[in-house]
């Protein structure tokens, strides 16, 4: 094909050349533009080109027959995935958690009714043209489209800034509030009455300006614009050769159209076997959350419906429909919006359009009218509910459909098959699903399905009506991972299908053909992230067991075992130990129950936790409570786990080492002494001596003594609840020797220590204090406690009185 040597420098020359091209019908578009879609469709039907080439990934050309099939209904999307197995672009370990996990890249080319690409292909099929996508594949585009910001070439950033400034200036000059509003005002509203030739000329002028903003030409090379254009041009040359007669329609973004006629063709890299390109259904809701240009797709849909219906003012018709729908939706939510308000809104929308010099009201006018007429009061306090409703209506709920035979991502098919098999109703009605995997083998698969879906974020869940306590609103039951609901048998799930389910499945479909494979893939990445963290690794192991991901259990166990060797943090090791015990012995009969490898891991991590135990003796005050918990956990496991013999002598030795340092945290020392006492490794006399060392010391030491008691009560409650009362006698004797000021300082910590006991136990302690030889009996408040309380009251009252009469600045002393 004949090509000019260089792009003409004047925009009118560019336009003249494009218009005069005898072989190519250059059709510049804006993506998601109803006017573009209509003009392109009409042009192709009128000119009947022999081929229609459309901007889109070339490897999706095979999908075009499915895309344009009468049974396919937008929104749909071409979705491409490429896994860089050879790490050609260095993303492994950078974009993924671990160098062993290859980077995966994904891209979507969504199509709605207002996509000019879609309408061009539909029209092309009608006129019998050869149809082809001509843009580069995802793989070829990776070097340009997935460049991290820090590696972006400076000239590209300059170019982006120039474009932003240009678009902003356009909006300012035309007194529109954004570039999108500018586009709508200039190219969409009233476009139906414009000569398509003039419309194209205006679009080309705009594109030529955007292309010639200045900046370095290298930016267009670096951001992939020029390589893509060379690739598209190569396709065009090839098609032109194959069709020596007839005209060829080329439908691309207008920015490319003003350069393509003068571009020399050169192919980019082709897609390889690691690329998967599919056509799948999409939804307006997903479109709205993914693409800036279609934030409110129901608006575009309403405009297109009006275009198809042959309306002379499609935007005005759409505006009326939208304000009525917003009014109806608002009323259904109990908001006071009447039909009269809808009439007024339509009136305001049209009035605003006239004031702004627009041929018909557009999206901005609808939004303004809704705000002006439906919000009855201060916008900040009264406008929120209407804004939410308006947004929901303008986003819409349409879900696309792809013709049978186009093939769905295998994940979609397998997901619904599996849901059917395990009897999870995904009809869209709210359902409550119950399963009891511990007692019914048949429910294990259902439980695993639901846990997997939850893990990978498939939104099939719905809030249960009565969800007690904290945690997930859609789930009630025992959860070994979170350690919640242990008192409950079985699982109860709230289920409700919604259109976002398919969107999410499409997103996940490059991770595997089944939910199990997707969960395993996500888990593999998670395991790479938690390497070196014993607690997190075992937590994931537990999750694998809960989801019944057999292969991943092995992998998680391997990661956990490696982490035990690396992780020096006692809290991690003890948490890992506790979770491993759950993995090994959980009542709900996880598949890992009784697993020998898990038992061996318990042995290993227990030993390592014991060895690291002395390190906790000097934890800061705010971590004492956590350290006490871990110590208790360690002791509990040592005392109760019997699948393998845990070395209690080692624990005793390390606890002894921990308490040996008199400067260590008193609470931990107390707890340590309690453990040793419980193991019979220390006598009460030694323990009492240690306590006296605190309580008979300086006021500071007395306070530390309260901490010691607190720790002691945490691990050896029986020492005061049993027959022995010597320790309590020491406490009582020590306290009575304290002066009032010191006692006051000590009181809060002392009270905290005694909160380790139940009220009933406190009664027993009080009784024993007052009458050591009397048996403890249940009943009303014992006289001994009354006496103790009365004495404490009198003491406190006397202290308060003294303090009240003490001269200012001179603390009262006993």
């Amino acid at each position: 094909m004949a090509r000019a040597a260089a792009v003409p420098t004047a925009h009118d020359a560019v336009i003249a050349a494009i218009e005069a091209d005898p072989r190519v019908i250059w059709l510049p578009i804006r993506h998601f533009s109803a006017a573009s879609a209509r003009v392109v469709g009409e042009w192709i039907r009128r000119e009947r080109p022999v081929a229609v080439l459309v901007e889109g990934p070339e490897d999706a050309t095979d999908l075009i027959p499915h895309l344009v099939h009468a049974d396919t209904r937008p929104p749909v999307t071409v979705m491409s995935t490429w896994i860089d197995k050879k790490n050609a672009f260095g993303g492994s370990g950078v974009l993924t958690a671990d160098p062993s996990i290859p980077a995966r890249y994904r891209a979507w080319w969504p199509m709605t009714e207002t996509s000019a690409e879609y309408q061009a292909l539909v029209a092309g099929q009608e006129v019998g043209a050869a149809l082809r996508f001509v843009d580069v594949s995802l793989k070829a585009g990776v070097p340009w489209s997935h460049v991290p910001r820090e590696r972006m070439v400076a000239s590209v950033e300059v170019r982006h800034r120039l474009e932003e400034a240009f678009f902003q200036r356009l909006a300012e000059r035309t007194r529109t509030r954004s570039f999108d509003a500018f586009w709508r005002a200039g190219f969409e509203l009233g476009a139906i009455d414009r000569d398509p030739m003039l419309w194209r000329r205006a679009v080309l002028t705009f594109a030529w300006c955007a292309r010639n903003l200045g900046g370095d030409e290298a930016a267009l090379e670096a951001d992939g614009t020029l390589p893509r254009e060379r690739h598209m041009r190569a396709h065009l040359d090839e098609v032109a050769k194959a069709h020596p007669e007839g005209r060829i329609a080329v439908v691309t973004g207008a920015f490319h159209t003003v350069a393509l006629p003068w571009t020399r063709g050169k192919r980019a890299t082709k897609a390889d076997a690691a690329t998967s390109t599919l056509l799948t259904a999409h939804s307006w809701r997903a479109l709205s959350s993914l693409y800036d240009r279609v934030r409110l797709p129901a608006w575009d849909g309403a405009v297109w419906d009006a275009v198809v219906a042959g309306e002379a003012r499609p935007h005005a018709v759409a505006a009326r429909r939208m304000v009525v729908e917003v009014a109806r939706a608002a009323r259904s939510r109990g908001l006071p919006v009447s039909t009269a308000d809808a009439v007024a809104a339509d009136d305001v929308a049209n009035g605003l359009a006239a004031l702004r010099g627009l041929a018909e009201p557009g999206l901005e006018e609808v939004l303004d009218a809704v705000q002006s007429t439906f919000v009855k009061g201060d916008r900040l306090t009264h406008g929120g509910a209407i804004e939410v409703v308006a947004r929901e209506v303008l986003v819409g709920s349409r879900v696309g459909r792809v013709v049978e035979g186009a093939g769905r991502p295998p994940l979609l098919a397998s997901f619904y098959e599996e849901a059917k098999r395990v009897k999870v109703d995904l009809s869209g009605e709210p359902k409550v699903v119950r399963c009891d995997p511990a007692r019914q083998d048949g429910h294990k698969e259902k439980s695993a399905f639901l846990h997997r879906a939850e893990y990978v974020g498939v939104p099939i869940f719905d809030d249960l009506e009565r969800t007690r306590g904290e945690g997930r609103a859609h789930f009630r039951g025992a959860d070994p991972v979170e350690g919640t609901g242990q008192e409950l048998l079985g699982e109860t799930w709230g289920i409700r299908w919604r259109e976002a389910v398919d969107d999410r499945l499409v997103e996940l479909s490059d991770r595997g053909p089944t939910l199990e494979a997707v969960a395993a893939s996500q888990m593999a990445e998670r395991l790479a992230e938690v390497r070196g963290d014993a607690a997190a690794a075992v937590r994931e192991l537990l999750r694998c067991a809960q989801m019944r991901l057999g292969a991943m259990v092995d992998e998680a166990l391997r990661v956990a075992e490696a982490a035990f060797a690396e992780d020096q943090a006692v809290d991690h090791l003890v948490a890992a130990l506790a979770d491993l015990v759950v993995v090994h012995a959980y009542r709900d009969a996880l598949d890992t129950r009784g697993d020998t490898r898990v038992a061996m891991a318990i042995l290993d991590v227990y030993r390592r936790a014991c060895l690291r135990l002395p390190a906790v003796r000097n934890v800061p005050d705010e971590q004492v409570e956590g350290a006490l918990d871990r110590l208790q956990t360690l002791v509990r496991v040592a005392a109760t786990f019997d699948a393998v013999a845990l070395d209690r002598a080692l624990l005793t030795e390390k606890v002894r080492e921990m308490v040996r340092d008199p400067r260590g945290q008193p609470a931990l020392r107390g707890a340590g002494y309690g453990i040793l006492y419980g193991f019979g490794a220390v006598r009460e006399a030694a323990l009492v001596r240690e306590l006296e060392g605190y309580l008979l010391g300086s006021p500071l030491h007395v306070r530390l003594g309260a901490g010691f008691l607190d720790g002691l009560f945490a691990t050896a409650r029986t020492i005061v609840l049993g027959r022995e009362t010597r320790l309590l006698a020491v406490v009582t004797r020590s306290l009575t020797r304290l002066d009032w000021g010191t006692f006051k300082l000590l009181l809060p910590e002392l009270r905290r220590a005694f909160t380790r006991f139940t009220p009933h136990e406190l009664d027993a302690i009080a009784a024993r204090l007052s009458a050591p030889d009397e048996p403890v009996v249940d009943g009303p408040v014992p006289e001994a406690v009354r006496r103790l309380v009365a004495a404490a009251d009198a003491r406190a009252a006397s202290g308060v009185r003294r303090e009240a009469v003490a001269p200012s600045g001179a603390p009262a002393r006993r």
């Binding site: 006071p336 007024a344 305001v348 009035g351 004031l355 009218a369 007429t373 201060d378």
Partner: protein, 379 residues
């Protein structure tokens, strides 16, 4: 009354040239009863930028007039307000005190009807006859209820002449008085049952509408009847979030007030003006330009209050013979504006001086040093 005698002239008398220029250049369709087209009304409020509009006066003298911007804020809000007034619904401007709701309503009425003086001031003591009509009791006794004895109120005049009626602080008026508007806004008619025959029914002429204001600090719009709410479109006028725009407004307004005060002397310089507006802006926003959080005052730190402080500071400088308006003059009058109901507000101001003014004074930024030195006047 001449311009020099009036303390403050209504918008149509302040900008007669601009209104003439807009009318002469107005090619767009005008709603029935309107003096200008909606686009020209918008231009009157938001200005023509640098563009001067050519026109000739009645004597054939040629003029070129630039339309000044009178309302700083969201132009989209102005457009919606104009379109509402062209529809069959009233316009209710709501917002914090001092956000230029009345200012906007005045200029809209001046541009649409050529008159902004058909105004009702809502208050607890207002009665129906102050809005609709009353009677000349001498004539009433002499002639009985006749059109001659009727004393028309702003609503009656607005309806019979097809003009915009302004209802300020509508939510402060008793409910029964508010509801007087119901039939006027929906049926566009006013009944005068005392008058017999056709005189007893007043039909609104085209061009009539009501623009009301309500502030969100007093009785909010929640207490308005649902029936009346339905007859209004609501527009929320927010406080300005652009410091430079606020500086421009305060400069413009203070200059206007000083010009009208009939005295001469120093005016507010840009450096002092910026101190003043920055203080209001930052206390209102709850943080300084540097991102440091400051307490918000209970009193409304509105642009109108900033204008008041600026005006008083300038008068102070004039009457007490200062060569220029200094930061200390602003400080002297600031506590009067910022401390309305609670002594805590004074703490807010002092806190602002500590966390915002002091560091800037230490960095010797502009007039901030003198501003800091004048903190003793915060009492």
């Amino acid at each position: 009354m001449t311009e020099t005698q009036a303390i403050r002239l209504p918008a149509e008398l302040r900008y007669p040239g601009e209104l003439e220029a807009l009318s002469a250049n107005d090619r767009d369709p005008r709603p029935p009863g309107w003096r200008l087209s909606p686009r020209a009304v918008e231009r009157f409020v938001t200005g023509s930028g640098d563009q001067a509009l050519p026109w000739e006066d009645a004597r054939g003298v040629a003029h070129e007039t630039v339309i000044t911007r009178k309302f700083y804020g969201h132009d989209v809000l102005v457009q919606r307000a104009i379109v509402t007034l062209a529809s069959d619904r009233g316009l209710l401007l709501v917002g914090e005190p001092g956000t230029a709701k009345s200012w906007l309503s005045e200029h809209l009425a001046a541009a649409i009807s050529g008159s902004s003086v058909l105004t009702v001031q809502g208050s607890a003591g207002i009665t129906e006859d102050q809005i609709k009509y009353g009677w000349n009791y001498a004539l009433l006794l002499a002639e009985g209820p006749t059109p001659r004895a009727l004393v028309p109120g702003p609503l009656y005049v607005g309806m019979t002449t097809g003009r915009i009626v302004r209802f300020e602080e509508i939510t402060r008026a008793p409910h029964e008085v508010q509801d007087t508007l119901l039939s006027c806004l929906s049926e566009k008619l006013l009944l005068v049952p005392e008058l017999p025959g056709d005189d007893g029914v007043v039909f609104a002429r085209r061009g009539f509408n009501v623009v009301a204001t309500a502030n969100t600090r007093d009785r909010g719009v929640n207490e308005m009847s649902a029936a009346l709410k339905r007859r209004f479109n609501f527009e929320t006028v927010p406080a300005l979030d652009d410091l430079q725009q606020e500086v421009a407004i305060v400069r413009d307004q203070v200059t206007r007030l000083l010009d009208g005060s009939g005295t001469s002397g120093p005016t507010l310089g840009d450096d002092v003006l910026e101190l003043l507006v920055t203080t209001f802006h930052e206390i209102r926003a709850g943080k300084t330009a540097e991102g440091i959080k400051v307490d918000r005052a209970q009193a409304m730190m509105s642009t109108a209050e900033a204008v008041s402080v600026g005006f008083h500071a300038a008068l102070h400088a004039r009457f007490f013979g200062s060569a220029a308006v200094a930061p200390e003059h602003v400080v002297m009058h600031l506590s009067g504006a910022a401390v309305k109901d609670r002594a805590e507000d004074l703490k807010v101001l002092r806190g602002y001086w500590d966390v915002a003014v002091k560091p800037r004074a230490q960095r010797e930024i502009g007039a901030w040093k003198a501003y800091w030195a004048a903190r003793g006047h915060l009492a």
